[in-house]
């Protein structure tokens, strides 16, 4: 696995250079000719630039076509959320009107306050925050420790254990869920946060994998220099690796946050009393057997989703970075 990483890595750099050369060559030609060159879309080549209006029109048509598709896609992906906002701001009576109306009249900002008070929002928020923060802390610490061990240190059985780690990712969660429930019951941890938090301190295979791949790209020279200066492994980990890995750690934090925040199964199985439940369980409250209060449900759902969306807006590039790092290695 590591060998292929290295290979692709170097090849990419070479390809990057080649591509940049090709691009700048095309630009030179383009500037020389004064006309537009057909855009390259990652699929077609930057062909030789041609003169004239025909080409310009072609480019405009192409652009329009692409933008239409993009906007259509954007509508399909964003529409459900717009619908959510629209429902959240409506009166219950207006929500049920047939034919449907799009604009809330009047705009009920109250819905948010009422929905949140009904589902005991602050208690649920407190619980979800506690669980999420603890879980993220645990994951950061344990995953970086373990990844460092796999990436930098030699010990017998290292490759074997790494393969074991990877194969646990393929294990359906269900195979271990029931014995884990029994185990936690034996410990007396049912109806506490512990089953949701403690396993995070023992590492999560996905993040360990991610971090290990990243650590492998950090040049060994830094380590060697540090050792010459008398650092032991712990200090290398704490004072050299971690600071260098801030982007990847950010990815771990972000993904960990999203997964724990939206987690449904864990709280469903392990949390019992009402004052221990989390936000994802709390949303069920609005679904009655006889009727569902959609406007409150949507308002509450928006509030539950808000932190995740806010995080996304602020840390966008880390998301794509994270996905790319895990996926590319194939």
């Amino acid at each position: 696995m590591s060998e292929r990483v290295a290979k692709v890595g170097t090849e990419m750099t070479a390809e990057e250079m080649l591509r940049r050369e090709a691009r700048s060559a095309a630009e030179v030609v383009q500037r020389g000719n004064g006309g537009g060159s057909p855009p390259s879309d990652g699929q077609g080549p930057p062909s030789v630039a041609r003169r004239g209006w025909g080409v310009r029109v072609q480019r405009w048509l192409w652009l329009t076509f692409v933008y239409c598709l993009l906007v259509l896609g954007g509508i399909i992906f964003a529409m459900p959320f717009l619908w959510m906002v629209r429902t959240a701001l409506m009166d219950y009576v207006q929500v049920q009107k047939i034919p449907l109306e799009w604009i809330p009249r009047p705009v009920r900002w109250n819905n948010f306050a009422e929905a949140l008070s009904f589902m005991d929002f602050w208690v649920l928020l407190r619980n979800t925050l506690i669980i999420t923060i603890l879980a993220i802390t645990g994951q950061l610490l344990s995953c970086s420790l373990v990844a460092f061990g796999f990436a930098r240190l030699q010990f017998p059985g290292r490759e074997f254990l790494f393969i074991v780690l990877l194969s646990t990712m393929m294990l359906p969660a269900m195979v271990t869920e029931i014995p884990r429930f029994i185990l936690f019951r034996h410990f007396g941890w049912i109806d506490t946060f512990l089953p949701l938090v403690v396993p995070a301190f023992f590492g999560a295979p996905f993040f360990i994998f991610l971090l290990r791949q990243f650590f492998k790209t950090v040049p060994q020279d830094l380590d060697d220099a540090a050792r010459i200066d008398g650092c032991n492994s712990w200090r290398i980990w704490w004072q050299i690796m971690l600071p260098l890995s801030k982007p990847v750690l950010a990815v771990v934090v972000i993904f960990g946050f999203i997964w724990t925040w939206n987690d449904f199964w864990g709280p469903l199985v392990y949390l019992r009393t009402a004052d221990k439940k989390t936000l994802s369980l709390g949303l069920q409250v609005f679904q009655g057997i006889y009727q569902t209060y959609y406007h409150y449900l949507m308002a509450a759902s928006l509030v539950v989703l808000a932190p995740v969306l806010a995080l996304y807006v602020f840390c966008q590039r880390y998301f794509t970075q994270g996905i790319v790092m895990t996926g590319l290695k194939g």
Partner: protein, 752 residues
């Protein structure tokens, strides 16, 4: 490290604060089934008054629509709610598992006069002669009718002489096509509850002597046939009703009468515009209807039984009941309240007495409310009668045979289990073996470790660093995996020690039609979602890869679904698929298509979930494809265009091969995750108008992991659930290996 310390300390303080319950007061958990605002607010008022009178007792209120399952698993986990609301239907299984406290001794000790209650309500909560819940209220079947439509069609109001034939004939006259456009505007009636009609016709499906279902009763077939005959003529079919509930159709004036239950009274009183009233249900062979009694029960494992009993008594007392307000959705079990004009008997409607008097002839279902009854209802009865609606070629004979056959299978397996199971010890240590297994594994691992370290001195560091994962792996993964393997061959319900049964779990699964259905459903789901997601993701990635300005913005938008994956989004989509008020059918309506009933229709529920899954699942693979596309060297395209290749040929011969590792990765990930779908289906199909159980109308959306969850956590057949988990693992492993083999033909790793 110093900077982190305060954080960790704060965090631990938080945990402790959160987990510690209020000190000195006795705190009891009350599990209620109420899910509406108003009702919960009323219960809170009652609790406040109780706490005022008993300052040393604190009541923690919880409410859930899934209460019995919670009670069962909590009792198995050793932490049951102290008091819970329960009804006739669900009381027997809990009694049978010995997790309910018998109330007769307490009633005798406190010398409570049971004559205060309407007699049939007491019978409704008795199991094997003992009372296990204290009655609060009850509900019966009644005939609701719209007076205005009756007047319009000059049909006399329902009275005591009505039979089912009268019902149908009246309904025929009451079915109107006002504007003569060929479409019925007002339906005469609705179909009747299947259990009620069978009972009313005098049908017998259960033989109490042999304790088996029997299919020899002519009356049952007549009852089924009667109900079927209404469909599409006097009663709207599923499509005509657009899956609105009976209640809503009645309130909207689209149906002239229907046989409903007491709990529908308040809603109808609120929304009904025309004058209306209720009457006794029509007579069949005799006049009868189904009685459902609700009451509060006390957990046998409760640590505060006295406090719980005080609460139960107060709840059912006149003062307590008055605090809950006049709940017209059930008739009070207390005589003084049921007959009180100031309390229950205040109109609307005028003939409210029917709701009280019906107690005289109301009784149980056509089969006894024994421990197996809820499972029979959910897994045999309900899916079978739902098929009448789904397919018009399903005959009463087929239905009855299916009910008898599947019902008896259920009874047989139930009896076998009863016979084999040891005595129930709710607090026994049934898991010692698991702990010992893991400790021995760790000891083994420790020995191996020490040996390894002795050979390579420097290795201890590496092991130290990976120790968190290693320990966690043994404790939370390896141990459970081995334990789960062992449990697959056992019968285990958390209340008794695991018992070895060999291959029986597997045999039972092989004979279980729901198991195969769940497997098929999962395959159907996967076969649609995996290609759909991957193809769409690739298309989007190509789109995003065009060198146009603004792709960054769109990439952010396209990633929204992955971010928001979770319960909130599932509920949003549930709302989107609402047949009348949802976005989907509205948009379809713009192009003139009448949208289907989506989540409440057996044929359309799964497509709805598939659509949602594709929408939600596209973002991840899309980004990976995007990264892959950007890694394809440009010179390949140049070379191809020099050779005269067209766009499409370039796609086929350059893009796809270069992307093949990425495609392969996405394919494997998609298959593995699609086989494990759970949350989406659970959230979208629980508590719908069609059924309260998740798994969709007639098990059409019962996917594998959902059935696993039900088997383990609802029916407490943990051994079988473990067997299912292992089968899933083997299937996924097999698929992955097969794909890996196949991949050697089409995946090109040599990227030069």
């Amino acid at each position: 490290m110093a900077r982190l310390l305060p954080w960790l300390v704060a965090a631990w303080v938080f945990i402790l604060a959160a987990s510690v319950s209020a000190a000195e007061k006795v705190s009891i958990r009350y599990l209620s089934w109420e899910t509406s605002f108003e009702q919960i607010a009323m219960v809170k008022k009652l609790i406040a008054e109780f706490e005022k009178r008993h300052p040393d007792i604190h009541i923690a209120l919880e409410s859930s629509a899934d209460a019995t399952r919670i009670f069962l698993t909590d009792a198995a986990a050793g932490t049951p709610p102290d008091v819970m609301y329960i009804t006739t239907e669900f009381i027997a299984p809990l009694v049978e598992k010995r997790i309910l406290e018998p109330l007769d001794p307490l009633i005798e000790r406190d010398r409570i006069d049971m004559n205060m209650l309407i007699p049939s309500t007491i019978e409704g909560l008795k199991v094997n002669g003992g009372l296990y819940a204290y009655p609060i209220h009850f509900s019966v079947d009644m005939l609701y009718y719209n007076k205005r439509i009756f007047d319009e069609c000059k049909v006399p109001y329902p009275d005591e002489s009505w039979t089912w034939e009268t019902y149908r004939d009246a309904a025929t006259s009451l079915t109107l096509d006002r504007n003569r456009d060929g479409r019925v505007d007002v339906f005469g009636c609705m179909q009747v509850d299947w259990q009620l009609i069978v009972k009313s016709f005098g049908g017998r499906i259960y033989d109490p002597e042999r304790k088996r279902f029997v299919g020899d009763s002519r009356e049952v077939l007549d009852a089924f046939a009667f109900n079927c005959s209404l469909l599409g003529r006097q009663a709207p079919s599923a499509a005509q009703a657009m899956d609105t509930t009976d209640m809503q159709l009645f309130s909207n004036g689209r149906v002239a009468m229907f046989v409903g239950r007491t709990w529908q009274l308040p809603q109808i009183a609120k929304t009904m515009k025309d004058p209306w009233d209720i009457a006794h249900v029509p007579k069949g062979k005799t006049r009868t209807c189904i009685l459902n009694v609700g009451g509060n029960c006390i957990a046998a494992g409760s640590r505060h039984k006295e406090a719980a009993w005080e609460f139960v008594k107060f709840y059912s007392s006149p003062e307590g009941q008055k605090l809950l307000g006049v709940q017209k959705n059930c008739t009070p079990a207390l005589r003084e309240l049921a007959y009180s004009r100031d309390y229950f008997l205040s109109p609307p409607p005028a003939s409210l007495r029917v709701a009280v008097d019906a107690a005289a002839y109301a009784s149980g279902r056509p089969y006894p409310d024994d421990a197996w009854a809820p499972e029979f209802y959910a897994r045999v009865w309900q899916p079978t009668v739902e098929r009448f609606r789904a397919s018009s070629s399903f005959t009463p004979r087929e239905a009855l045979d299916m009910i008898v056959r599947e019902g008896n299978k259920l009874l047989e397996s139930y009896e076998k289990e009863q016979a084999e199971r040891g005595p129930i010890q709710p607090h026994a240590d049934t898991t010692g073996f698991l702990i010992r297994l893991m400790l021995s594994l760790m000891a083994l691992g420790g020995i191996v470790l020490v040996l390894a370290v002795r050979r390579h001195r420097r290795a201890w560091e590496g092991y130290a660093f990976i120790a968190p994962w290693l320990v966690g792996f043994v404790l939370f993964t390896l141990g459970p995996v081995l334990a789960s393997f062992y449990l697959s061959f056992c019968r285990y319900d958390l209340l008794t020690p695991p018992a070895w049964v060999g291959l029986r779990n597997i045999r039972e699964l092989a004979n279980d039609p729901v198991f195969w259905k769940s497997f098929k459903n999962t395959l159907y789901y996967s076969a649609c979602v995996v290609p759909g997601t991957l193809v769409l993701a690739l298309a989007l990635a190509i789109l995003l890869n065009t060198r146009v300005r603004g792709t960054h913005f769109f990439r952010a938008v396209y990633y929204l679904p992955a971010l928001t994956a979770g319960v909130a989004t599932c509920l949003l989509w549930r709302w989107l698929f609402n047949p009348q008020l949802g976005l989907f059918n509205t948009v379809l309506g713009w192009v003139g298509i009448q949208g289907p009933e989506w989540l409440t229709s057996p044929t359309w529920a799964m497509p709805a979930i598939i659509i949602m899954s594709i929408w939600g699942g596209v973002s991840g693979p899309m980004l990976i494809y995007l990264a892959g596309l950007q890694g394809i060297p440009q010179h390949l395209y140049e070379a191809a265009s020099i050779d005269g290749a067209s766009r499409w040929q370039m796609f086929r011969h350059v893009t796809v091969p270069m992307l093949s590792p990425t495609i392969f990765f996405n394919l494997i990930m998609a298959i593995i995750s699609s086989f494990q779908v759970f949350t989406t289906v659970f959230v979208m199909t629980s508590n719908t108008a069609a059924s309260t159980e998740p798994g969709g109308p007639a098990n059409s959306t019962m996917v594998y992991v959902l059935y696993l969850y039900q088997t383990g956590f609802r029916y407490l057949a943990m051994g079988k659930a473990c067997a299912m988990a292992w089968i899933l693992f083997l299937v996924i492993l097999g698929l992955t290996l097969w794909n890996y083999r196949m991949s050697e033909r089409w995946v090109h790793y040599d990227q030069a």
